[in-house]
């Protein structure tokens, strides 16, 4: 059974996701010792030796924008084809990571030992505690449980196919599902679609298996700096506007602040 990691990288006018994916691929090789495939529309990716495979595909057709707090501007957000990973992945067992997920340990290796067809994080937390993140673990007026699409581990199976097909159906009829679940945000998010899809595929029993630890998150309202190969400092302001900092050492995390991460990636080249 083949195993590997897949990263989606569709650049926009603000963020060079392909550079992030390349930076991340080197870290994945070092910590997880797994091949990395990038799914992108940038032909130059084939010249980057860090990827084991490059899957070229058209960018999702969208004008959907997202506000990037750290850049203080909106940009087109090419996030609509994540659900095609079941067909595009060359592996029997695939770990799908966001390009801005920082691998700093071998913790994710454990996911391949779990005998489940599909896994994602059920809970996420903010490493600085500010802003409080708890409410993000539910969505909509009915407070449906969130499943985070940042890290997904699946094996090619009927269950995984059903979840991804359902995600596509939700994406294609987003306005309907948005109203059904009373989601205030108009922007399509893979997290919402995955949450609804996993719950639907589970017969609405709210008992879907999940990754047995919480997703560490660093929001875009913080400043991230790299102190060592796997050590990062996170600067933030608490509600009293007092600056504080913490250290993340050999701990994986989702870096939502693309600007800070982009600077780290640029400095590593």
């Amino acid at each position: 059974m083949t195993q590997g990691v897949v990263i989606f990288a569709f650049n926009n006018e603000q963020v060079d996701y392909l550079a992030m994916a390349a930076w991340s691929a080197a870290r994945i090789h070092r910590h997880l010792n797994l091949p990395v495939t990038v799914i992108t529309d940038v032909e130059d990716a084939k010249r980057t030796s860090v990827f084991d495979q490059v899957v070229l595909t058209d960018p999702p057709q969208t004008q959907q924008t997202r506000y990037f707090y750290d850049y203080e501007t909106s940009a087109v957000w090419h996030n609509l084809n994540r659900s095609s990973v079941h067909d595009l992945s060359p592996y029997d067992r695939t770990l799908v990571l966001d390009a801005d997920y920082v691998v700093a340990s071998d913790q994710l290796k454990l996911l391949f030992d779990i005998d489940q067809d599909f896994l994602a994080h059920r809970y996420a937390h903010e490493v600085t505690g500010y802003p409080p993140f708890g409410d993000n673990n539910w969505f909509g007026v009915y407070r449906m449980p969130m499943s985070w699409a940042t890290v997904m581990c699946f094996r090619k199976s009927q269950t995984a196919k059903l979840i991804f097909d359902t995600m596509q159906m939700i994406r294609d009829h987003w306005d309907h599902y948005r109203q059904l679940y009373y989601i205030s945000e108009s922007t399509y998010r893979n997290d919402h679609a995955l949450s609804i899809a996993m719950n639907t595929a589970d017969g609405h029993c709210l008992s879907t298996p999940s990754i047995p630890w919480s997703l560490s998150t660093v929001t875009s309202k913080t400043t991230l700096t790299q102190l060592g190969p796997d050590t990062y400092r996170v600067d933030y302001c608490n509600p009293d506007d007092k600056p504080g900092w913490i250290i993340l050492d050999q701990q994986d995390f989702h870096a939502m602040g693309k600007r800070s991460l982009g600077a780290i990636v640029a400095n590593t080249r």
Binding site: V127, W213, S216
Partner: protein, 101 residues
Amino acid sequence: MDTNELISHSRARFSHHQARLNLKEKYQAKMTFAYRGGMWCAGPNLQSTLLTCSGTQAVILDLYETPIQIDTQELLALSQQRWQEQMTAWLVEFETLNQNR
């Protein structure tokens, strides 16, 4: 990093409280391990359960509520080893954090 960010950076104080919470999240994740196709969380709960099993063979539920046939002594040894390895690493990191100001 611009001048304002540099000033803010130098005035910032290390958050011991938040660092401790973070360490807890980090090491709780590291307590998870695989054995005989099941997933387990090393620690007192699992070890107490194993100590209530009278024989060397037993069937218990893993983290995913899947019944798994296990060798109680084997799983107990694995759990104790991982638990103490990770607790020791936790302590080392905790003491290093306490030196931060």
